[in-house]
């Protein structure tokens, strides 16, 4: 079970996170916290000149391998995409990429980064956060 959970690609993202860091003067940013385990993630996004295409994404924070690897994978997936499209990205798209069965507790770890990214984008675009995030109410977003 744990061998499956910590499969190679997860470990790779965990040990070599993509886009670790901070973007000063980011066009969109938000932070989130999982009080259950103390995981913290902040995400910073900069847009291209069209104010829509995601040029760069970085994240900082600390937490378990699943939350950190999932956020790193998300960073990979986000670059070059349109902000409005990404703000609507279904959870399943990220979960498929992660590709491992997750218990309800670990699901919250895996989705922390996505929640933070969505908040950052919706906030930057002035659009409301989709209802489906209501199920993750144990996470706190700022």
């Amino acid at each position: 079970m744990s061998d499956q959970l910590y499969r190679e690609v997860i470990l790779d993202h965990y040990k070599n996170p993509r886009g670790h860091g901070v973007i000063e003067d980011a066009d969109a940013e938000a932070e989130g916290f999982n009080p259950l385990c103390g995981d913290e993630v902040s995400i910073y996004v900069s847009f291209a000149d069209d104010d829509e295409t995601i040029e760069d994404v970085k994240f900082s924070g600390r937490g378990c391998a699943i939350s950190q690897a999932a956020t790193s994978m998300l960073v990979d997936m986000a670059k070059g995409r349109k902000a409005t499209e990404l703000a609507e990205m279904p959870k399943d798209e990220l979960l498929e990429e992660i590709g491992i069965p997750l218990s309800p507790i670990r699901l919250k770890c895996a989705l922390l980064g996505l929640g933070v990214l969505k908040i950052a984008l919706h906030r930057a675009k002035g659009t409301p956060l989709p209802q489906e995030w209501a199920g993750l109410d144990e996470l706190e977003f700022k």
């Binding site: 079970m1 744990s2 061998d3 959970l5 910590y6 470990l11 965990y14 259950l36 385990c37 103390g38 995981d39 913290e40 600390r62 937490g63 378990c64 391998a65 699943i66 507790i105 670990r106 770890c109």
Partner: protein, 414 residues
């Protein structure tokens, strides 16, 4: 090891009483190191509850038929058992509650709201479980009283030397402290705190949720005014606990929950309260759970609380010794001679959730998180820890499997 005159228990033999140990977890035998969160249940307790439902169940009190009398005898018999277990002067001082948390809430609200006000001080410790922290913080704020925390020394012991200064010129009204810390395993000097509290004219509230399963709790020797316990940590069912309180305090207090059974007389205009403990037991109680609570107390009393304490003490010493072999593991809390069977630790650079998850794959169950002690975690400067905790059925082989599992954690994640 030195020969001691103290009674020993045979954990390997006791395991046969616990059906859970027949389970395989991910194909492996269970190494259950999370008894501080909740203990497993012996057949004796499960059978007692089953038998009660099959032969003696009805609602308690008020019934005039045979079954109601049997049920009442079962429920009140459990009260007697719990009263003896805590050495309460009278079983009528035992109020059944849902758990230790509810027991503390009763005191915080029903005593606190009538006795606390501006200029008063409520004192808790930095070690407290949220259940002996949040109710006091809340009620103190509501009542306009000051809420203060007794700090810890570097080994997780209470800084009793800081008491006087902390109190300052405030009127200390409540001192609330746990008997055993569920995070660090430290055993607190409740008697000394109680003596200090009484010198100041304060009441002493002791959270014995983590004490009663593991050592003798004698409410008279402690000198406390209120003591909270919970059945599920001492081999009993979930959904029931108890508050012991000094009779004169219980009598003075307003009720907490209102409704059926807790009344003496109800008219359109007014209601008068029933006698203690009925005054605090509104509505249908957890009847079969009370019977299970009693059976659990009988079970651990027969094994002997001194033997249980000694056994866990040896396990704590063994666990600390084994973990000390791993330079990349940091343990928290006092040395073995001042600690109950609880070890909190962290693995360098690896989040507790990952540690616990990989151990789970090995059939080893530990807890990872803040253990409902966020103020303490902040003090330790960590977001979370791993915690292995032991009970009367824990064997050293389970600790060895923990250590083997930690090697695997390192192999996978470092």
């Amino acid at each position: 090891m030195a020969v001691t005159a103290r009674p020993k228990l045979d954990a390997q033999k006791l395991r046969a009483d616990f059906p859970i140990f027949n389970e395989l977890i991910h194909g492996k035998p269970l190494s259950f190191l999370d008894s501080a969160a909740s203990s497993q249940k012996p057949r004796q307790v499960l059978d007692a509850m089953q038998r009660f439902y099959e032969t003696s169940y009805a609602n308690v009190h008020r019934g005039v038929y045979e079954l109601a009398e049997r049920a009442t005898a079962g429920y009140e018999g459990a009260r007697e058992t719990v009263g003896r277990f805590l050495n309460a002067p009278s079983a009528r001082e035992i109020v059944f509650t849902r758990n230790a948390t509810e027991a503390i809430n009763i005191v915080a609200y029903a005593w606190g709201m009538n006795n606390l006000g501006p200029g008063d001080v409520v004192l808790v410790t930095e070690l407290e479980h949220h259940s002996n922290f949040v109710p006091w913080q809340y009620v103190a704020h509501r009542a306009g009283a000051d809420f203060r925390m007794l700090p810890l020394d570097d080994e997780g012991g209470l800084r009793l030397d800081a008491l006087d200064e902390l109190a300052g010129t405030g009127r200390v009204k409540v001192v609330a402290a746990g008997m055993v810390s569920n995070s660090l395993g430290s055993v607190n000097p409740v008697e000394k705190l109680a003596a200090w509290a009484h010198d100041r004219g304060a009441i002493m509230v002791c959270d014995a949720a983590q004490g009663a399963p593991h050592r003798v709790v004698d409410v008279q020797a402690l000198g406390a005014d209120f003591v909270a316990v919970t059945a599920h940590k001492l081999c009993g069912p979930s959904g029931i606990g108890a508050l012991w309180g000094r009779m004169e305090l219980l009598q003075e207090m307003e009720p907490f929950n209102l409704g059926g059974h807790m009344i003496s007389r109800v008219t359109f205009e007014d209601t008068s309260w029933g006698e203690v403990p009925a005054k605090f037991e509104a509505g249908t109680q957890a009847i079969a759970e009370a019977v299970g609570f009693g059976a659990a107390v009988d079970y651990i009393t027969e094994i002997g609380l001194d033997a249980i304490e000694q056994h866990e003490h040896e396990l704590a010493a063994y666990g600390l010794e084994r973990l000390a072999e791993l330079p990349w593991v940091k343990t928290y809390g006092p040395p073995a001679d001042r600690r109950a069977g609880i070890i909190s630790f962290n693995v360098d650079g690896i989040h507790p959730h990952d540690v616990a998850q990989i151990l789970d794959g090995e059939g080893v169950a530990i807890r990872a998180g803040h253990h409902c002690c966020q103020p303490l975690m902040a003090k330790l400067g960590v977001a979370a820890t791993n915690r292995a905790s032991f009970y009367l059925y824990t064997v050293t082989d389970e600790i060895d499997r923990l250590v083997d599992g930690l090697h695997k954690v390192r192999k996978i994640l470092s």
